[in-house]
Symmetry: none
Subunit: 191 residues, 4 copies
């Protein structure tokens, strides 16, 4: 049990180090050696926990996905109207991205890895059903779900990236405004 815990901790340490380095140096700017050094372990040790680099990066992605899935669940209230849920969830995601920019950075880059899924689909899987329902109720436009996701998630990563370039772009108060704008993009006028 103790051993089991230690192993889990090392695995997490590797994933976290990898995430940090991908953000700093780009998905392909990192080597197993770099990760090992940064995590204060031997290069060979990574292969005790992961079969290869590809699987390790997929695990990083999986870790992030679970995190966002959790976030969505936490901000969903089945008794609230869709719009309120949407704004709450979008707000939470944007805040999470801003708090840990490694997340959106990794997602955007990982989307280009051969064989990886869209990068966003998995992560926002829990939202699909909600959107489906909202579309059926004509609360949002009659656009394929993937399109609705693109219209609302696209701006989020875009915004985070912009911040790196245009300092002071986002003041605390703005987060709501951007969530609202995303809503405006997909909501039916008669909302």
């Amino acid at each position: 049990m103790q051993a089991r815990k230690k192993t889990e901790e090392k695995r997490s340490k590797i994933l976290d180090t990898a995430l940090s380095l991908v953000t700093k140096n780009g998905l392909h700017g990192i080597s197993m050696k770099m990760i090992a050094n940064e995590a204060n372990i031997a290069a060979g040790t990574i292969y005790v926990h992961f079969t290869n680099k590809e699987e390790m990066l997929a695990s990083v992605y999986e870790m992030i996905t679970l995190q966002i899935n959790q976030l969505v669940k936490e901000h969903y209230d089945e008794n609230s109207p869709f719009k309120k849920n949407f704004l709450n969830i979008w707000n939470a995601i944007l805040k999470a991205y801003l708090a840990d920019r490694r997340i959106p950075d990794f997602i955007t880059q990982y989307a280009f890895v051969e064989g990886a899924s869209s990068g966003i689909s998995d992560m926002l899987e829990p939202v699909y059903q909600l959107l489906e329902e909202a579309r059926r109720d004509q609360v949002v436009k009659d656009i394929p779900i993937a399109g609705l996701i693109a219209l609302t998630h696209g701006p989020i990563t875009g915004l985070v990236r912009m911040i790196g370039v245009t300092k002071g772009l986002l003041k605390e108060i703005d987060v709501d405004m951007y969530a609202q704008s995303c809503w405006d993009a997909i909501s039916n006028k008669e909302d």
Copy 2:
């Protein structure tokens, strides 16, 4: 003259081959050798036309930037209201992206290259002034220009990416709807 033209052609051929391969294998999944093979030239020849890989990729980006800049210019009519210009331009960009997916793919990836600008700023530079004006006239929301760009360009790349995953997402008719949705995201309600 003939030689001059031949030289220019070879340079273009290299850039075009690089663009295709970046899209297929990712920005870091390509080697100079691969480009040379694909372009049917010797590896060393690339260095006759570019000082190194970095400069060559920057040239690809520059080529694309000029293309989009041109597109924007062509679809702007100073006598039309801002909304109409916005919809025309967005429509044109989205269509261009769909016609040559290598463009948005390259842009998104190149944005992560060390030292490169946001990737979108350069390309949409001509739009900045238009947006500035529209904001002053309260036609669009009081959000920093970079934010307006994020809200409207973010979905475009998002959409194109989604297509790779969700086939048949975009029918001809939809383009207008997405441009309209982007507009909804930034326009003032009283529009």
Copy 3:
């Protein structure tokens, strides 16, 4: 412990192989691949022991320097007069050079490496003080130490080189004579 020793042995093997190849092909006529092949290791292995070619060559030089420093120390007797020490040391160096021609060959070539010191200064550092003293005592001519070194070490490398061209130039007995001649070059007549 066993592993440690093996590592040290491999490092030495690389340095020795490099020294031999530099002598045979010139400082710039060798490649890392050549060294690896000759040492029966993989090319990449060299980089396990040295950060790059430059550092590896500097290590070869350092190895030689230590060897000569040691030689000087062994042939110096503080109770003997300067002339006797000089002849003994010069004799020893010349013999060492003749026994392993790779040493003077490497030194001469390494002196031209960017950023390397004169190549001789480091090696004969222990002799500087002795010469300084001898000059003060007017045992040798009033010439800057570096000049005295040039007058006495210059011929040594010259001699060794000549041997490659003019076979049979040096019989056992001659060594003393050349040491004596070097002494004649710097000693005060009234010696």
Copy 4:
């Protein structure tokens, strides 16, 4: 005739440029392209005047050799005693080396080129006979000519090199002293 002269000039320009660059960057630190750039000609043009790099460098060496040969001839007076001739010639060579350090630098490096002769032998060929005679007359020690050359030319290149390291080592007046010291190294005591 005019064309012939122009050709000869270009050939000289190439050799001179090569000599300068070898001194600055080392024998192997230069490329044909560098030489061409520095000489303001096209890379291919060098091959109009020389069959390849090797032959071109041999031509640089030949040029220097002729220069030194000439110098020796000019400072030899058949009516003067050997010692006087020796001092004059050595003085002249040392001064020439100091005036144009490219000469000793090139010679020392070229001596290590595969297949090149000792580097010094050719150059001092005219002195061999003089030394032979002097040895027969017991004016100098009974040492093989090559040894005598080593004892007297070795210090010269050594001195020139030292100057790069120890500034101010050589004042005008010193040249005579070093020539004298070289003489002391080879002359018979009863001189």
